[in-house]
Symmetry: C2
Subunit: 177 residues, 2 copies
Amino acid sequence: MAQGFTVWLTGLSGAGKSTIAQALARALEERGLPVEILDGDVVRQNLSKGLGFSKEDRDTNVLRVGWVCQLLNKHGVVSIAALISPYRDTRAKLRTMIPRFVEVYVHAPLEVLIERDVKGLYKKALAGEISNFTGISDPYEPPENPEVVCHTHEETVEESVGKILAYLDAQGWLSQD
Amino acid sequence: MAQGFTVWLTGLSGAGKSTIAQALARALEERGLPVEILDGDVVRQNLSKGLGFSKEDRDTNVLRVGWVCQLLNKHGVVSIAALISPYRDTRAKLRTMIPRFVEVYVHAPLEVLIERDVKGLYKKALAGEISNFTGISDPYEPPENPEVVCHTHEETVEESVGKILAYLDAQGWLSQD
């Protein structure tokens, strides 16, 4: 069985990580690949209950998810992680833990995200009702050399997924054997 | 791909959980099954850093490992967990989370474990140098209806593994398709 790979979607809240994760999972499953999505909210419930949003706790959360990703990869499963994962050094650690690691920067300008504000979180963060909110009151360090960048304010979900699939295909990871 | 299953080894420290886990993993891999061992110590480092040994923290640890086990099972991987997992109600929760759950009680009398004391932990626990030590200063609730019981003071590792394999075989889970 071929080793799996991890597609790690990083970016601000509301940038489109979960949407891309789901569309990418469907596209990979259609190609016969086994896929598991590790989405920030689900993960916080099942793997990281009790962790907060300090740098240390965020790092623990990210590395823990990374550990599960490589465990699945080892058995041929594709892992798609959708986590803000704001710190560059922590994402660099993931790269050393996971043999086939694809960093995807899911990006839209902050003003667009504030306008979208699907979950109403930016409004609350700007009003000071949520602390440690990435992009407002907590840092986000954009990837310097991501494998793929998706500009979700300028491209459709299909276009974003297409870019990721093109990268995976170029690595020869989309065939099952 | 067939769904995987979880063999959950519960029992006191030193009873032989890790030894059985490793021998069982080898036997299953020889039969062509993909296997992952989730051993207490490794898990505490990678999944549960920061958790202690209160009932609440132990339960969180056990359920977290259970979540990873079912994730692997979903993709056809056999999970072998070797954790003290002292509480009956928590193990009952695992049973509801994991479709193919095999509870194995790895047992030897406490006096035998105190005499073995491979890691020197019982000596320390009896001297009061370790608190919350299961079997000495913390409870262990033996399984009431485990699928398999291994009496490691009376049987060899091969015999213990043989019992577990016989159970798995009877379920029809040892063939790959």
